[in-house]
């Protein structure tokens, strides 16, 4: 790992003041589970590391009748085990409890989960100069792409967004509070992510000198769930994830939001799927139809057509789980 100067400010304002206006020279350290790995691989080589672990305001959870606000520095364990959050937002807490294993959940944070870099093996290999690192091309397009995007239209780099907390939070209508040199701003989480195309962009739209402060979820009682199709139950990123949130009164779905993870460079709002289930009662057939609708428009790469089928499965199971209030293994 390249050496760096370490800072541990105790306010967000101080942290913002320590950041450079361009990417690459400073990095924020929260849990460190992604950053240290990137530094060891020389993919990240910052001169300054600004630790957020000394900032108390980042580590609080406010869950109340007026809405929920979770600090970006809150550990995944604290989210997964929070009684009120578990009751209200299983789409979030189940996903938090499925990240890595206990060691990772004890260090990893909400903000880090949303801002982590992608898992593409070409990107993560120090010796591969891919498009995201300023190189000539995306090597996954015609290379080893079994875990890459299936919604590829218009994308020059076919990573999948790695966050498993993002789909549930987007389905729940979350917003993020961001602090920068000119003050604070609030952004809908859907608009927080972008498909990066080079070294001057990240998977999110934070400026290099901005800090993610907290995530807010509006106070609405909605049925919600997240379902991850995985190789194994722990210690990996999902192959495909679906998160759903909707009102379910009188046996009819309204205001449905269905979000797919790990199928495109950003989380994907599956509008066709939401439309397919709107006004309907959820059963095997309607949930399956929504799943089919979610997969429409997919253009898989040479090795990942299997993920299109997994989208159908994930959406169906997430809808059934949310409607029935049961985990998939109880169904």
């Amino acid at each position: 790992m390249k050496n760096f100067t370490y800072f541990q400010p105790n306010s967000v304002k101080q942290a913002v003041g320590l950041l450079d206006a361009k990417w690459g020279t400073t990095e924020l350290l929260a849990g460190g589970t992604d950053l240290l790995d990137l530094q060891k691989e020389y993919v990240a080589q910052p001169d300054k590391v600004v630790s957020l672990t000394g900032i108390k305001e980042l580590a609080t959870i406010e869950a109340g009748n007026t809405g929920t606000k979770i600090g970006a520095g809150v550990k995944l364990t604290a989210i997964a085990d929070h009684p009120a959050l578990k009751k209200l937002y299983p789409a979030l807490t189940d996903a938090a409890g499925d990240v890595g294993g206990p060691q990772i959940q004890n260090m990893g944070t909400l903000g880090g989960n949303l801002c982590q870099r992608n898992r593409c093996w070409y990107f993560r290999d120090e010796h591969v100069n891919c498009l995201l690192k300023g190189g000539p091309k995306c090597f996954a397009l015609d290379g080893e792409n079994q875990y890459h995007a299936v919604f590829t239209t218009g994308h020059k780099c076919v990573i999948v967004h790695p966050s498993t907390l993002a789909p549930g939070l987007i389905a729940l209508g979350a917003t993020v509070d961001i602090a920068g040199p000119k003050g604070n701003r609030t952004v809908e989480l859907t608009k927080f992510f972008q498909a990066p195309t080079g070294p001057t962009q990240r998977e999110h739209t934070l400026a290099p000198n901005e800090v993610l402060v907290s995530v807010s979820i509006p106070a609405k009682a909605v049925k919600n769930a997240s379902y991850e199709v995985r190789h194994k139950q722990a210690y990996d990123w999902p192959l495909v994830q679906a998160a759903v949130a909707f009102n379910y009164e009188g046996g009819k779905v309204s205001n449905a939001r269905i979000v797919l993870g790990h199928v495109a460079p950003t989380p994907v709002l599956a509008e066709a799927a939401a439309k397919a289930i709107e006004g309907k009662a959820i059963d095997e057939a309607t949930a399956a139809a929504a799943g089919k609708a979610a997969a429409e428009g997919a253009k898989p790469l040479s090795q990942n057509a299997y993920k299109v089928k997994l989208i159908e499965v994930a959406v169906k199971r997430a809808l059934l789980a949310a409607a029935g209030g049961k985990k998939y293994w109880e169904m």
Binding site: M1, K2, N3, F4, T5, Y6, Q8, L29, G31, G32, T33, L36, D37, Q39, K40, D47, V49, S51, T53, T77, G100, G101, P102, Q103, I104, N106, M107, K232, Q233, A234, Y235
Partner: protein
Amino acid sequence: MSKKVHITATINGRETEFLCEPRQSLLEVLRDELRLTGTKEGCNNGNCGACNVMLEGRLVNSCLVLGVEVQGKEVTTIEGVASKDGLHPLQQKFLENAALQCGICTPGFIVAAKALIEQKPKANEQQIRHYLAGNLCRCTGYDKIVRAVQDAAKECAGKAK
């Protein structure tokens, strides 16, 4: 460009001072600066759990924690698991069940299993396997490890009565 930093932390119950570069992980500090070599380096990227330690009572991979981040904090390593009266029941049961072959993963497994049985004394086999999913063993095939943890959990529960 970056000077060594002076850090004070409580390690295995003892106040400890050390100097470290910002880039050194807690794992490197433990092994190279403090000579606590019971904690092992496996993958060095958070997959294998060989470097597991307790940080402020929470199980973490010490390879993913910077040494400078433990200022003022409490760290317990495998060296802090046995007491002056003898081995911890987990260590004893790992021996009795022959739950190790090469032994590189063992300190990490014992630290992780201790965190589990303190948190969930009645963890069933499935919960034990799930909790230990972040610890890799390339020799034994896990069955003996799970049996050792189950035996130790029973013994700890018995002692608590």
